[in-house]
Symmetry: C2
Subunit: 222 residues, 2 copies
């Protein structure tokens, strides 16, 4: 990002508003805000929470941002007019604006997006390991397909995300493993009550979230 803005900086007109769509924000905002300011422009960080595992203009969709959350990460130095313009840009393509400090965005994104990606990749690497029995892939059905969809995303992009958000992701992974260990213990003890509670809680939390964030008209969207 930094190298890109350095190359762009001669072309930035006085007062121009620059934004980005990076998945990790703290480092980007820290690096780009002063760079853009020195070039005469105004920077506002954006992260539209939408996309699929497919990359490139061939997979563009006119309704990609319809109903999608778009996080903006203004700082104390952000120009109010620039923030209004970037808000209008994302609202114009259907986005729902959530303004957050960049650091909080990165913590929340490590749970909501980076951890799920890692788990999908780990699941594929483990289950589709050629060292497993020959019929293993035959038994992977639509549940496996959907649970692992995001593992087909760009490895280079996900490397960059994991490294840029390394501290949050490491902490979140540790906490997640602690949660999983609760289930592991219930399973080892054969604790029916604890096991059904674990699955009930998951169903209740997910169903409530789906009802709130994925109304029927949006539910088929990527």
């Amino acid at each position: 990002m930094q190298a890109l803005v350095e190359r762009m900086s001669a072309a930035i007109k006085p007062g121009a508003v620059v934004t980005d769509v990076g998945s990790v924000k703290s480092g980007v905002v820290r690096a780009l805000e002063p760079l853009v300011r020195r070039a005469g422009g105004r920077f506002v960080g954006s992260h539209p929470m939408a996309g699929t595992e497919r990359a490139g203009v061939r997979h563009a969709r006119a309704d990609l941002f319809e109903g999608a959350v778009c996080v903006l990460t203004p700082t104390a130095a952000t120009c109010a007019e620039a923030l209004r313009l970037v808000t209008a840009l994302w609202r114009g393509v259907g986005g729902r604006i959530v303004a957050l400090p960049a650091e909080l965005h990165d913590e929340l994104a490590s749970r909501a997006s980076h951890l799920p990606h890692l788990l999908a990749a780990a699941l594929v690497n483990y289950v589709l390991d050629p060292a497993q029995p020959a019929n293993q892939p035959d038994l992977c059905a639509s549940g496996f397909r959907d649970t692992t969809r995001i593992a087909s995303g760009s490895p280079e992009m996900w490397r960059d995300i994991a490294l840029a958000n390394r501290e949050h992701l490491a902490r979140v992974l540790q906490a997640f493993l602690g949660n999983l260990r609760e289930f592991q213990q219930a399973l080892e003890k054969g604790d029916e009550g604890a096991i059904v509670e674990y699955f009930k809680q998951a169903k209740q939390r997910r169903d409530a979230w789906v009802a709130r964030c994925w109304p029927p008209e949006r539910a088929s969207g990527g």
Copy 2:
């Protein structure tokens, strides 16, 4: 299953073929094969690998089994004619037959289906925990939705599956955690090469599996 077949047994006609659609097979086959034989019938275990997180006849779909793997678990005692009939039943609704020993089915299903379910539930329980920051659910987008879809399945059914396949699931979870720890170490060291290789391997393995098992005409199916 056992209690159900005991109630059915008076109604089983001589030579009748009985099958089931249970997700864990060893215990079912062990219990039902002799029960059905004593009632004068012939038992063949089935596990059609299809379905969604929705339960009940309201969510029935005529094409549910189209292209889906259906595992049959014949034993040394299985009647060849009964096996042909059950094979024809599943082929008749579009299933692809894979015959496996019940024990091997349970091992493969613990990786392909039961572990993904557990991870989806764990992800929801951790990320959508009300103790997380207020904006946490807003940052969960379509990747999170798909990765966790199966966590909306029936808690009681999944409790029964987890308990019936407890030994395989516990072993598989342990092995999966070992795989995940490799990534965790690469992340802690900031090992760019190992991280990108991990994501590349996942993308390659999943893309190859999707190309083989989900041809375009099937890709939109549940």
